[in-house]
């Protein structure tokens, strides 16, 4: 029997998470590579209309688990719905978008079903004795190549931006019910509320120029030259997560997966190493300048212009050069 690839889509209030389309692209490539079929899995309450949409995304089937207990996401109900279905249908792969929600429950799903757990992949290639997967390690400074040992289902999550959502095709797949009994699903959380973290937020999404700082800036007291540069350039100041966690800048300055997504004409990253949690929020920038003393910082991979230098030595010179250019 051909290898079945399931793609578990993420939706909220009937709308797909943007990375769900990337997961479909990954699942279809995986099905092509293994001679299998790509089939979508959708969980929720009253998601029939969304299932019909998904049927046109180039999958051969859409398996829907539709139950009141799946209206709000909880790991208890999601694992409860998926685990029996995975045991019964034994798909070769189950592909997930690597979102915060996926990571919250899919490791537990692997533990419960005895499946292999392969988180945060950025690609795969055919190797001797099976597929070889790439995933970032050590803050994305290195890439690890891994393979899966043993038989049975593999749960794999795909990193944001690793597979192009444009590759999702067309068609009209059969929509059916996910195998398993959904009547006994129980939530293991009582959802109380959803809050916005930064209330009176600075909107960085429309900024033309952003000067962003990372942990390597070294402290709140080192921000003077950064502020001077930002003022000269008419830029907004942003930051990667460690700067926020250390309290050097307020949370509404955070760029990345738990902060804002920006797309300025000019992005200047100072002492930012380039962890995916940050880069996912600034990939859309037009011109990217990176200054870091570590030549191996993954941030340089996204740069149009890179300077390997200590930020504190480079900034005064850069400020003078900008002043000279503006004055001319």
């Amino acid at each position: 029997m051909a290898d079945t690839v399931w793609i578990v889509l993420q939706q909220r209030d009937g709308a797909l998470h943007r990375m769900s389309r990337e997961a479909i692209a990954a699942g279809r490539q995986l099905a092509d590579a293994t001679g299998g079929t790509a089939e979508a899995v959708l969980l929720g309450a009253g998601v029939g209309a969304l299932a019909e949409q998904v049927a046109a995304f180039g999958v051969t089937a859409v398996h829907v688990a539709d139950a009141p207990a799946l209206e709000d996401y909880t790991p208890g109900a999601y694992v409860g719905a998926l685990a029996p279905a995975i045991r019964e249908a034994a798909p070769a792969y189950v592909v997930f978008p690597h979102t915060y929600q996926t990571v919250d429950y899919f490791s537990r799903l692997a533990q419960e079903t005895g499946a292999a757990l392969l988180p945060e992949v950025t690609g795969f290639e055919a190797g001797d004795g099976g597929l070889v997967w790439s995933r970032p390690i050590l803050g994305a400074k290195l890439v690890s190549k891994v393979k899966v040992k043993g038989d049975g289902t593999v749960l794999v999550s795909v990193q944001s931006g690793a597979f192009s959502a444009d590759e999702t095709g067309s068609g009209s797949a059969q929509v059916g019910a996910l195998p398993g009994d959904l009547s006994g699903l129980t939530a293991d959380r009582e959802i109380l509320e959803v809050q916005e973290v930064a209330g009176d937020t600075v909107d960085l999404s429309k900024a033309d120029v952003i000067v962003a700082v990372g942990r390597g800036i070294g402290g709140e007291d080192k921000m003077g030259p950064v502020e001077e540069l930002a003022k000269l350039l008419g830029a907004d100041i942003g930051a990667s997560r460690p700067v926020i966690d250390n309290g050097w800048l307020p949370r509404d300055r955070q760029i990345g997966s738990s902060g804002q997504t920006v797309a300025p004409k000019l992005y200047i990253g100072l002492a930012i190493s380039g962890a995916i949690q940050h880069t996912v929020g600034m990939k859309g920038s037009q011109t990217v300048v990176v200054v870091n003393k570590d030549a191996n910082a993954p941030m340089f991979n996204l740069a149009d212009y890179g300077v390997v230098a200590d930020v504190h030595e480079f900034l005064p010179a850069f400020i003078e050069a900008v002043k000279a250019a503006k004055g001319a």
């Binding site: 490791s107 803050g139 899966v148 191996n296 149009d304 890179g306 480079f314 010179a317």
Partner: protein, 264 residues
Amino acid sequence: MNIAVCIKQVPDTEARLRVRSDGRWIEEEDLPFKINESDEYALEEALQIAEATGGEVTVYSLGPDRVKEALRKALALGAAKAVHLKDAAFEGGDALATGRALAAALAQGQHDLVLTGSQSDDVGYAGTGSVIAGHLGWPHAWLVMGVDVEEGGASAKVTREMESGMNEVFRVALPAVLEIQAGINHPRYASLKGIMQAKKKPIADKAAADLGLGADAVGVAGSRLEVLSVAFPESGEGAELIDAPPEEAAKILVEKLQKEARVL
């Protein structure tokens, strides 16, 4: 409340990294190690909850001899005792194998709550805490930004980070495994008194056999993932590196931003 915290000792990623000669991991000799960042926040959260509820914190870590240093630091910060999962068989496990070992060790203790960090800064599987919860049959939550133990200690109000600046607040029954996100609190520094006291606090070593686990159930043998190689990524396409002293590099950069990119 008696609370267990699982911490991992990881390479300091700010250090200069080299690929090991067999190509499967980085060279660890002369490499500085530290407690994983989110695990430090988990430890601080555990200490605060134990202080507020009148309990003690037990810290668990899996790894080679060097891990004792991380455990001593946790004891200096205020943990009462430590358990070191120390066995060559434990090494190199994926989240499933490491979670299995830690769950077996935790099951031998009496804990009302288990905290872990949300993700290790080295391999970054981000699943060990959830796997532990599965083995223990407890609820869990990942990327936790707030823990509020409710009256009687039977439940906790938990804040979980979602994407795009949103948090979800929910109630879970205790005991539970909560996987803490960096930034939830402000970790304390060890006092001299704490460091002195830590020397007298007990650290129990546990091998796989002590936990009733076969060597094939843990570490590399018990893992479903096999690391074939690690490497630095190929440097960026199109990235133009300006290699000059600061003053000159600054001038070149400004010129390029003006004339090539036309953004200044």
